[in-house]
Subunit: 413 residues, 2 copies
């Protein structure tokens, strides 16, 4: 009894938390409810349907199936559904007509053969990458409509009558779903993608800085570790966001111009930026791994390289943050060139610090009793800084790439 109750209450708290964290999801639920109520009232109040109104059914079904969280998703499904229904219906009526002309005994053969062939071909076409990305839903509806019309209809005249009625119903369903989706608190895929990319960039900047800071400060302050640990884990979001970015970019393509985004906004550029970011995140992940490894570098070496490393990481993260805000505001940042220059300086400083390290290192090696451990330590410290250096290279490539891209975005908007 009490066990169940506590389970239910934790579940309730979880649900409440999701709702409180993102009120848009609750609003989405209410939007779907409103659309469905509207469409059912529409058919409930005018008793158009005969018996178990197949028309009303199609409107309800369309609303349920087409209504998606984002405007892009809704448009994608609506447009796909409309095109697929029209083309499949037309084709099926045509084949029905041919079949009806060819005599009683051939009719079932022609109909079944056409259903088999078209369904097979359409299903196979879903494996083509372009079709998969843009028309997956449309193909399903095509198969469905075609088989329904081809199988259910005997007489062509009756079919055409019904088709007109059904198309009108589906159009009403799509119109209701789209208008509620677009007019009431719309969620734009494009904007989601935009925010996701700039947020990821910020997270990456934070985690890069936090990670290096963590490493060099750990010996001094250990209390603040907890908070900065969560901060430096931010790059993990960047690693795992590929799938959602791809789908958002796919859906964003269907959206009309809205807000500061034009109709042919270069959504693919976002994917490129995101891929570059992910590349960066791999490096941060590697850096993170070797910073958290057990082997420790000697304090004196750490001190020697600390300032240069910290400067490089903070400069890099400044560049990323500036880029993130320039993406957010969609204009070319003026200070970005200066920041990139500063980052390059920091790279040189770090290289100089390395250049003076061998002297340092020789001293330590001489004074160290066990050579083997020293060798390990040496390798470890040069890993940490080496990775920082190596990481600066993709960072620099990315920086120039991003400048290019932000210029392009600015050119388009």
């Amino acid at each position: 009894g009490s066990k169940l109750r506590s389970k239910v209450s934790t579940f309730g708290k979880k649900v409440w938390k999701i709702g409180a964290d993102s009120p848009r999801k609750v609003i989405h639920g209410a939007k779907v409810g409103a659309a469905l109520t509207l469409v059912s009232l529409f058919y409930y109040l005018r008793p158009l349907y005969n018996g178990f109104g197949s028309s009303a059914m199609w409107a309800v079904m369309t609303v349920v199936v087409v209504f998606e969280y984002t405007v892009g998703g809704c448009l994608y499904k609506g447009i796909n559904r409309a095109i697929a229904t029209l083309s499949a219906g037309g084709l099926a009526v045509g084949i029905d007509w041919v079949a009806s002309k060819s005599g009683e005994s051939w009719e079932p053969v022609i109909l079944s053969a056409s259903v088999f062939l078209l369904a097979s071909a359409a299903t196979f076409s879903r494996f083509l990458p372009t079709v998969k990305a843009r028309f997956d839903y449309g193909v399903t509806i095509f198969i469905l409509t075609f088989s329904l019309v081809a199988v259910s209809g005997y007489r062509v005249e009756e079919l055409i009558n019904l088709a007109v009625q059904r198309i009108a119903t589906i159009a009403i369903g799509i119109a209701i779903a789209l208008s509620i989706c677009i007019l009431v608190y719309p969620v734009w895929s494009g904007q989601e993608l935009h925010l996701l990319v700039s947020r990821n960039m910020e997270k990456l900047a934070d985690s890069l800085e936090g990670c290096v800071e963590d490493y060099f400060m750990k010996s001094e302050i250990t209390d603040a570790k907890e908070s900065s640990a969560t901060r430096s884990e931010g790059y993990k979001c960047v690693l795992n966001s590929k799938a959602s970015e791809d789908s958002q970019a796919n859906l964003a393509r269907w959206e009309p111009a809205h807000g500061r985004f034009g109709f042919r906004h270069p959504w693919k550029q976002y994917l490129k930026v995101a891929a570059a970011l992910r590349n960066c995140a791999y490096c941060v992940e590697a850096l993170h791994g070797c910073i958290n490894s057990e082997a420790k570098a000697p304090e004196c070496m750490k001190k020697h390289l600390r300032d240069a490393c910290m400067k490089l990481s903070s400069d890099s993260s400044k560049v990323l943050k500036e880029l993130s805000s320039s993406i957010k505001l969609m204009k070319r940042s003026k200070s970005i060139d200066a920041l990139v220059g500063e980052m390059k300086n920091a790279v040189h400083e770090l290289q100089n610090a390395f250049a003076s390290l061998p002297n340092h290192l020789t001293q330590t090696t001489a004074s160290s009793p066990i050579e083997s451990t020293e060798g390990k330590k040496n390798s470890n410290i040069s890993i940490a800084d080496g990775v920082a250096l190596m990481e600066a290279m993709p960072l620099m490539t990315i920086a120039s790439l991003l400048i290019e891209i932000s210029a392009r975005i600015q050119g388009v908007v």
Copy 2:
């Protein structure tokens, strides 16, 4: 004219290539066609339906919507559809009954309110992670069925009659879809996942070995670069396979026992192995990045560390390959312990090589005219090897993790 024709012919070639590469996809297309033909013949040959047979429609629709590429997907959708239809239908009939008892004027209010509330709640529930992963499709069908039944039905007795007929139709549709999906060349999600993980492991092993070999051999043989470049890119598949692994594991859970997989096969273990592999792949990516960076290490250092590095990378990749084949065969490998031991030895050898490097390095530094470049080179070589060492650490963790897991898999199968 000729431009269009060449476009069509390249498209045709692309389609042909997909078909030839994976005949299972073509077979899947034929399976869907066969199922649809079967279900339509079923209804075509017995003129059960009245006029525009709404029953036949439901069977066709069920087949189209439920039929998926893998058995897991098909079962997931079929079971979801069945449960959702039954529960939503029952609930809707109940609410209809209550509404019909409460008088003419209250009936539409109760019905619309219940549609609004249930649709909103169900839509919102799709955002809960558990529901999303396992019952997403079921929730859609629940909303659909509930609104259809609640809106379309006036009299409860009629409704129950219709419900029985419709449930029978949907059951026939699901039965046809499932039996063709399972009996004719089935594609099991579980097996796909199994193959994917072991193939990824092999690819990672290849690319780790290929990458290091590439680096140390490049100066000697440059002709073979092309072929090994594609080989060492294999880790990229590992990086991007998270989404498909997750969905396969999700679907595999619905599948009954088949082949060498039991009913409660530990699919989550595969995800853990895959996550560990991805961790490894991040390191390989970082290694790859710094090997392909412009800065070159001096030849003498390369030579000094070559043997140890090559040995470590080949040992590591041997461990991965052994694990991959032990996963493939689903039994604990006998030689894995020996191989892991060898890998550990290789790590020690590399550490020793590092330990003797400082002497080496001091000599070179002394003889080098420009200290700054030397410092850079120094950092570069210790990156390459440092990363190899650092990489060995997650490799070792992973190795022990994998031994654990392969033992568990063996325990279950």
